[in-house]
């Protein structure tokens, strides 16, 4: 498909990228392109200019801090997470990235693009919420950080607003995490998914049931407590060809229980 005419810029620094993005209203950041180029083909998005983040070393790299915090650059690909010794400090990161789509998409798709597109069926938004990650944002006004649970604002909308860039994500130390989903085919698009982190109680973030990940916190990690939290959450998930709202609500409870059980099984 021929895209609509578009300008293209390859900035040399994050600072220049931010300037290009804030100078022109119709400018959009291009990360892995695994969502953006497809929505441009469909004319669901028609940016006037693309600001290519590929090649910005400042947005690359995975760092393991002395306290165990894993910091991931926004332009790190899923394949790079899977292959990274540093990311293995929080094993769920690589485990979930390995469930996204296929080799080719994993080689191009980026951690930053995945959370910034905030497609409700994506894998990483609920994961980052359950892990209590911190999102680092840079814009014309400087740098700021936002907790993952406040980062996701609506379908395709995040706290990284126009003219701003997500630069990196910090994930605190931990090991007792789980992720469960029901997908359309193996490693396909999720019909519903849940990420869980256990540390005393549980943090369970559900995907595909609302515009943004739904975070539930329980004091107990017992199955009854997780089921009770789900039932008390009054989920109002969408209906589509893959699942009715009722069925999706049922599946949400199933995957939440599985994700917590997986997290509890780890030491």
């Amino acid at each position: 498909m021929l895209l609509r005419e578009v300008e293209y810029a390859r900035p040399a620094s994050v600072q220049e990228a931010v300037r290009l993005l804030s100078d022109q209203e119709g400018a959009r950041a291009l990360a892995g392109g695994q969502t953006l180029i497809n929505v441009m083909k469909a004319r669901a998005a028609s940016p006037d200019a693309l600001v290519d983040l590929n090649g910005l070393d400042e947005l690359k790299g995975i760092d393991l801090g002395s306290d165990g915090t894993v910091t991931i650059g926004a332009m790190v690909t899923y394949s790079e997470v899977i292959g990274s010794a540093e990311a293995r400090a929080r094993p769920i990161l690589g485990e979930v990235c390995a469930q996204i789509a296929d080799v080719q998409v994993r080689n191009r798709g980026t951690v930053g693009g995945n959370v910034c597109s905030n497609d409700p069926t994506n894998h990483l938004p609920p994961l980052m919420v359950s892990l209590g990650a911190t999102m680092h944002i840079t814009g014309p006004g400087g740098e700021r950080t936002v907790p993952a649970e406040e980062f996701f604002l609506g379908v395709y909308m995040t706290a990284a607003g126009p003219g701003e860039l997500l630069t990196r994500i910090s994930v605190p130390p931990g090991k007792r995490d789980g992720f469960a989903s029901v997908a359309i085919g193996k490693d396909g698009t999720c019909i519903v998914n849940a990420a869980a982190s256990v540390n005393g109680g549980a943090r369970v973030a559900l995907g595909c049931v609302d515009a943004v990940p739904v975070l539930l916190k329980t004091d107990s990690v017992e199955e009854d407590a997780v089921r009770a939290a789900l039932q008390g959450a009054n989920l109002d998930p969408p209906s589509d060809v893959h699942a009715s709202a009722d069925y999706r609500r049922h599946l949400a409870e199933v995957v939440a229980v599985r994700a917590v059980a997986q997290a509890r099984g780890k030491s």
Binding site: M1, L2, Y8, V103, Q104, V105, R108
Partner: protein, 150 residues
């Protein structure tokens, strides 16, 4: 924009509009029609090529993003008119019917065998997960890739 790439060892320089996808650049500008367009949505993998050692779907990359890159496509697999081992194994094992998916399958298998010269059947199936075939049912494709490692 000026784009300079090396495809299968040959250098090409062209003036390209930023909106042109890499797959169209290869097929329409360079006349390398081995790589196919199946879905144009990123699902089928018929457009798979290797760019600077990375397997990707060329319908989701702009040609201008490949400036300076070394690209490998299905046309580069055979040497002096002789099929390479992987291609011969596809032929021997009837790993294609209509052949539409074959260029992408071959590039995915090439990338897989480079990273993992002795893959298990499970690893082969994971390696071609991004390539859809509407004809064969995959069994013969998996057999061919396995045979190419022997």
């Amino acid at each position: 924009m000026d784009v300079k790439v090396t495809v299968n060892g040959e250098t090409y320089e062209r003036d390209v509009e930023p909106r042109k996808l890499l797959i169209h650049f290869l097929r329409d500008d360079l006349d390398l029609t081995g790589s196919h367009i199946g879905c144009d949505t990123g699902n089928c993998g018929a457009c798979s090529v290797i760019v600077d050692g990375v397997l990707l779907k060329s319908c989701m990359m702009l040609a201008v993003q490949a400036d300076g890159a070394k690209i490998e496509t299905v046309e580069g697999l055979a040497r002096d008119g002789e099929l390479n081992g992987l291609q011969q194994a596809f032929s021997d094992h009837h790993a294609l019917q209509c052949g539409y998916c074959t260029p992408g399958m071959l590039m995915s298998a090439t990338a897989l065998l480079r990273a993992n010269p002795r893959p298990s059947e499970d690893e082969i199936r994971k390696g071609i997960q991004g390539n859809l075939c509407r004809c064969t049912g995959y069994v013969n494709i998996v057999d061919a890739i396995k045979a190419a490692t022997e």
